[in-house]
């Protein structure tokens, strides 16, 4: 038996946050951002005032959710070692979160498209940083590979 086996703790205690599920995927933000994109499309195609009002409310809600998911990725998934390796991630997440606010307050489909592109860039870094296998279950990781 090795010494390290003798010294190895027998009990595990948790010092970090909530029973972390460890699942982080930019896809979650992307789906909300796609909703914003489609809602703006539908808004522009409609002449029903009531529908348009609802579209605005729902788009704002979705934009806020996209922002939340980007925040979670940034603060919970990306670790100092990722930032060291991919320093651009800080600005990507920061700008994408700001872009969510823009989409929330705008009906310009160009802004929604820009948000999708930004999330795709975050996705690239997440993939390079081993996100799919580190955070998703095998089936989803394979689909995202």
């Amino acid at each position: 038996m090795f010494l390290t086996d003798l010294l190895k703790p027998k009990t595990i205690a948790y010092a970090h946050c909530d029973l972390p599920c460890g699942v982080y995927d930019p896809e979650q933000a992307r789906i909300e951002a796609e909703s914003c994109y489609k809602i703006i499309e539908k808004y522009n195609a409609s002449s029903d005032e009531q529908f348009k009002t609802r579209a605005i409310v729902i788009k704002e809600e979705r934009a806020e959710l996209a922002k939340h998911h980007i925040d979670v990725l940034w603060s919970d998934y990306f670790k100092p070692e990722h930032v060291q390796k991919y320093p651009e991630i800080t600005e990507l997440c920061w700008k994408a979160a700001k872009q969510c606010s823009k989409v929330k307050g705008s009906l310009d489909i160009g802004e929604a498209k820009m948000l999708l592109d930004m999330i795709d860039k975050i996705d690239d870094v997440w993939t390079k940083a081993g996100g799919p296998t580190a955070t998703r279950m095998p089936k989803a990781a394979a689909a995202r590979a």
């Binding site: 703790p9 205690a13 010092a15 909530d18």
Partner: protein, 91 residues
């Protein structure tokens, strides 16, 4: 609990012969899931319970979420980190 404790640290926990004191890192039972053990810092001790907080409030789940912890659920005090060796030392 970063930067005081990091994922994978090996620490010695000493049983408590007295009530925990503010500022100490203690091993306690999570009031929501008693078999789950947590290491958190004592923020306040009063009337048989204590408030436990993580060192990183923005990321920690602590007494703000699970409420005060009974002193009977505080099992010991983290006193020493023995691995990794480079960061070994008193807590």
């Amino acid at each position: 609990m970063e930067p005081a404790l990091r994922d994978g640290d090996w620490v010695v926990v000493a049983p408590l012969a007295r009530p925990p004191r503010v500022g100490e890192i203690v091993l306690a039972r999570d009031p929501r899931v008693p078999e789950r053990l947590v290491l958190k810092r004592v923020a306040r001790v009063k009337g048989g319970v204590c408030m436990l907080l993580g060192d990183r409030p923005e990321e920690s789940t602590d007494s703000r979420t699970f409420g005060p912890v009974a002193l009977s659920a505080v099992l010991g005090r983290a006193v020493f980190r023995y691995a990794p060796l480079l960061r070994a030392g008193l807590l």
